[in-house]
């Protein structure tokens, strides 16, 4: 099997997987867009292998180096995106937990009705 066919196969598989997860509502359309772009790149590279060859020649890289470089680039962008999203979610989760804990304390105090003054 050639690299072109592998990319073609990978592109179809990426499309199918992305559509499946969106259909199951496990992946939102907003987040699926990036993976659709990756699938499209794979498909285009599989259908038109000369594009990769020309890009490799233009950048004075060998074919395999060009493919590796593009793959690492895509991997980096997506991993970085996931890390940023994780950090944001973590911050939101912490804020929610803090407010939950404070509210829970207030509820307990109100329920106890111990008359120790007003709380937040």
């Amino acid at each position: 099997m050639t690299a072109e066919r592998l990319m073609l196969l990978g592109g179809f598989a990426a499309f199918a997987l992305t559509l499946y997860w969106v259909r199951q509502r496990h992946l939102t359309e907003r987040h699926a867009l990036g993976w659709m772009v990756v699938a499209t790149v794979l498909l285009v590279c599989g259908l038109f292998p000369e594009l990769v060859t020309r890009a490799a020649e233009a950048s004075h890289l060998s074919y395999s180096s060009a493919v590796l470089f593009v793959s690492l680039g895509i991997g980096y962008v997506f991993s970085f995106g996931v890390t940023v999203a994780y950090a944001k979610l973590n911050r939101r989760q912490v804020t929610l937990l803090q407010h939950l804990a404070i509210l829970e304390q207030r509820v307990r105090e109100l329920e106890a009705g111990n008359g120790r003054g007003t709380d937040p």
């Binding site: 937990l97 803090q98 407010h99 804990a101 404070i102 937040p120």
Partner: protein
């Protein structure tokens, strides 16, 4: 050069709304797996004069810290409240929860952080508040190294790390403090209102101190005596020390790049 008894940078530029007339101070006690020490810590806070309330933040402890704190709070003649975080978030998250509580309550003037492991002597709390009032400080740190007052001065390795932070903060802000990692500190409204919104999640003391200095808040130190940890283990130990040094140094350097107020 060692700093004098109290160091103050330029007075703050921003005007912070003062709390209502009947303002009290809040002693904030973050606690994680301190079941053996938390009751004694709360008992020790009974010696404080009137005008102090206590908030224990149980940081998702896996032992009986929460139950022990509740029991001690019930027996206390001083208002002691306990907030239970559902999961362990780290010292920064626990302390910030206390500042958020104070922000929602809207009746506290100074918020004093005092660790739940019993290392901090409550006798120094009124002195920290007094110095804040007298010198119009926004943040007053209880320093182990200002005077030779005896007490626990940490391990040799940690003192080297503290020295690195002292130099780094001094280099970036021009202010030389002696104990940037101290967990015994008193924050005025300008500082703790900001901390309620933004506060580092882990190892927060040096970074938050740098933020105060960078934003020209008045910061000072008071000599205190600390006890040795009776039970439990510090959150900073073994291989974590290297990560701690790296993370905090990076955080301070990045904080330097931020715009004023951010």
């Amino acid at each position: 050069m060692i700093a004098p008894d109290v160091i103050a940078v330029e007075p703050r530029a921003t005007v912070v709304p003062r709390p209502p007339r009947a303002a009290v101070n809040l002693v904030l006690v973050p606690a994680y797996n301190e079941e053996a020490a938390i009751a004694a810590t709360i008992a020790g806070l009974q010696s404080l004069p009137d005008g102090y309330e206590v908030l224990v933040v149980n940081d998702g402890s896996s032992d009986r810290t929460g139950a022990e704190a509740e029991r001690a709070a019930t027996a206390s003649r001083r208002p002691v409240r306990v907030v239970h975080l559902p999961t362990n978030g780290g010292i920064g998250v626990a302390v910030q929860t206390g500042y958020l509580y104070a922000l929602h309550a809207g009746r506290y003037e100074y918020v004093i952080q005092c660790d739940g492991d019993g290392q901090h002597d409550p006798a120094f709390i009124p002195r920290l508040v007094e110095e804040c009032r007298r010198r119009n400080l926004d943040l007053c740190i209880g320093s182990r190294f200002l005077d030779c007052t005896g007490g626990d001065r940490s391990t040799c390795l940690r003192r080297v790390g503290i020295g690195v932070f002292v130099r780094l903060i001094g280099l970036l802000t021009g202010v030389r403090l002696t104990d940037p990692t101290s967990g015994l500190r008193c924050a005025g409204p300008a500082a703790w209102r900001r901390f309620a919104r933004h506060y580092p999640e882990d190892y927060p003391e040096p970074e938050s101190l740098h933020w105060c200095l960078r934003n020209r808040l008045a910061v000072g130190e008071v000599a205190v005596r600390m006890r040795s940890r009776a039970t439990g283990v510090s959150s900073i130990r073994s291989w974590r020390s290297a990560f701690y040094m790296l993370k905090v140094s990076l955080a301070i350097l990045i904080d330097r790049l931020r715009a004023e107020g951010q």
